[in-house]
């Protein structure tokens, strides 16, 4: 479905997007942002689930099972720690 040059275009545009989105980030947010981007690649969970669906032999199923466990850890852990860090940032003005 996605092949050849379409895939290349997606790759190029996404690469520039990532670069631009981060390029003006203040240093104070480096750690939470790294953690946040760490969460975003937790989308690997979706791929691990698909791989699990495709697995047939016991070996493949075992590897896919480990993959899903790890991917779920990436997604959930990434979200929890990022959210914890960011909810602490507040301004001296106003209540929020």
């Amino acid at each position: 479905m996605i092949d050849g040059f379409i895939a290349l275009y997606i790759f190029m545009l996404a690469a520039f997007t990532g670069y631009e989105v981060i390029s003006r980030v203040p240093v104070i947010l480096h750690t939470p942002l790294m953690s946040g981007s760490n969460f975003v690649h937790g989308i690997v969970l979706v791929g691990a689930m698909v791989a699990m669906g495709r697995a047939h032999t016991p070996l493949e199923t075992t590897i896919a099972f480990i993959g899903v466990v790890l991917a779920a850890g990436n997604a959930v852990g990434g979200y929890v720690v990022t959210e914890r860090m960011l909810e602490m940032f507040k301004s001296s003005k106003g209540k929020r």
């Binding site: 990532g18 240093v27 750690t31 942002l33 899903v68 990434g78 860090m85 602490m88 301004s91």
Partner: protein, 461 residues
């Protein structure tokens, strides 16, 4: 037949997820909107995951649920409990898990011959190798920062060994691609070598350089996820992985620059914790001790105080008391600002998280570029648990190992107070010329205890 097919629904959910990830990352780049950013990205993830369950070729529902419950459950518990000071290694751990998952996907596709054609096979192998390297590399980074591995393992010719393993991995991967797939032992050997490479690459790197390494592995995991996305025809993985790959690369460069370390240096020289060579003569002058009462008077009758916190403050758990002290000063009409060096804490931005935890508003916190010019107008620079980042030798002593590193100009303030446990040199073992200046006074003792005493003394003024 339903109006919208399952496949269309899945593609639509991936489209929404990709858009929310980019929006989320964008919002995370400003402190005002950052909280909403992670929530947006989280919604995208939840939508994509739930809809994928509807996928026509989904199977093994029981195993799937068990796996998600185990991985997600453990991560949720550990993520909730971890102390803010230990955040860097947790990020490394979760990142390693993502890399391992990408490796697992590649392994399943290779074993089941799911990847077809030159491009898919190449990207599948490449993503799998990168994911496996990121997996073991991140685990080592975690173990080092957690204190499970105390020493860096180094031996002569280490770079050559690493290079040899790398060449082997590449050659072996190329063979598998050329044959249009591999036998089970061949595939197992490929992943074995890649996992080994992650170990041998990361073991020699010192703890101080770990943040840069973690950031690099974060970018690599993103790339691996993107490559596996090509294999699985999954646009959400391609976009999210690529965005993280490029953003992570930029973040890695920014961090390396802030730490005054070239990326090549970090990966291949293993300086991270080596003591500086040659015992040069110490700075002239002497360190002058000062008492709490005198410091309280000095602070209480200042117009402007700049606090320079370092990781030592966080280790002493003094940030709450320091903020209490600052509140007492603000109540007296003193202007208080926090100056944060990019590498204060264990990774850039870590100190901001620790201060935020203590309740310090982010608009009182300034980074080195914003505040350096202000030290000249400050009555007192209060240095707590920071050392190398305020060492003027980085500016004017060419023989110093940290020469050229951007520092906070605390020495330019009218008075400098340094709260420090003892007289010894800091984390890097480098003598600090700041401590010997005429306008510097040393308040010896535990950061938390001294800050608490200062709070009482200032309130009593």
């Amino acid at each position: 037949m339903p109006i919208i097919g399952a496949n269309t629904l899945i593609q639509a959910s991936y489209f929404i997820a990709a858009a929310l990830f980019i929006l989320g990352l964008k919002r995370m780049s400003s402190p005002v909107t950052a909280r909403g950013g992670i929530v947006a990205a989280g919604i995208g993830m939840a939508v994509a995951t739930l809809i994928t369950l509807l996928s026509p070729d989904m199977g093994n529902y029981v195993l799937l649920t068990v796996a998600i419950a185990i991985g997600g459950g453990i991560a949720w518990l550990t993520g909730r409990r971890v102390a803010m000071t230990d955040m860097p290694q947790m990020i490394a751990l979760y990142n390693g898990m993502g890399g391992g998952a990408a490796g697992a996907i590649a392994a399943v596709e290779l074993f089941s011959s799911g990847a077809h054609g030159f491009a898919q096979l190449t990207l599948g192998v490449l993503g799998g190798v990168i994911g496996a390297v990121s997996f073991t590399g991140s685990l080592i980074a975690f173990a080092k920062l957690q204190g499970l591995i105390k020493r860096s393992v180094r031996f002569r010719g280490q770079n050559i060994v690493n290079l040899a393993i790398l060449v082997l991995v590449v050659a072996h991967g190329a063979l598998i691609v050329a044959h249009g797939g591999g036998t089970a032992p061949a595939i197992a050997a490929l992943f074995g070598l890649a996992l080994l490479l992650g170990l041998t690459m990361t073991l020699p790197i010192g703890g101080a350089d770990m943040p840069v390494v973690i950031s690099l592995y974060n970018a690599l995991t993103g790339l691996a996820v993107a490559f596996e996305g090509f294999v699985l025809d999954n646009a959400a993985m391609i976009i999210a992985g690529t965005v993280v790959g490029s953003a992570g690369t930029l973040l890695t460069q920014l961090m390396a620059k802030a730490m005054n370390r070239g990326l090549g240096n970090v990966l291949f020289s293993g300086f991270g914790e080596s003591a500086p060579a040659g015992a040069e003569t110490g700075p002239a002058g002497s360190m002058k001790p000062i008492e709490v009462a005198d410091v309280a008077v000095m602070l209480g009758f200042s117009e402007k105080v700049i606090v320079v916190p370092g990781y030592g403050m966080a280790v002493a758990q003094a940030q709450h008391k320091v903020w209490e002290l600052c509140q007492a000063l603000i109540a007296r009409g003193v202007a208080v600002k926090f100056a944060i060096h990019p590498v204060a804490g264990r990774m850039p931005g870590h100190m901001n998280v620790l201060l935020a935890e203590a309740g310090v508003p982010y608009d009182l916190i300034y980074d080195e570029g914003e505040i350096n010019a202000e030290f000249e107008t400050a009555d007192v620079a209060l240095v707590i648990g920071a050392n190398d980042v305020v060492n003027p030798s980085a500016r004017n002593d060419k023989s110093s190992p940290i020469y050229g590193m951007p520092i906070l100009n605390a020495d330019k303030a009218k008075n400098v107070i340094v709260i420090k446990r003892g007289q010894g040199a800091g984390f890097s073992g480098i003598e600090n010329a700041l401590f010997y200046l005429d306008n510097t006074h040393m308040l010896y003792g535990d950061g938390q205890a001294k800050a608490a005493e200062l709070v009482q003394a200032v309130k009593a003024l």
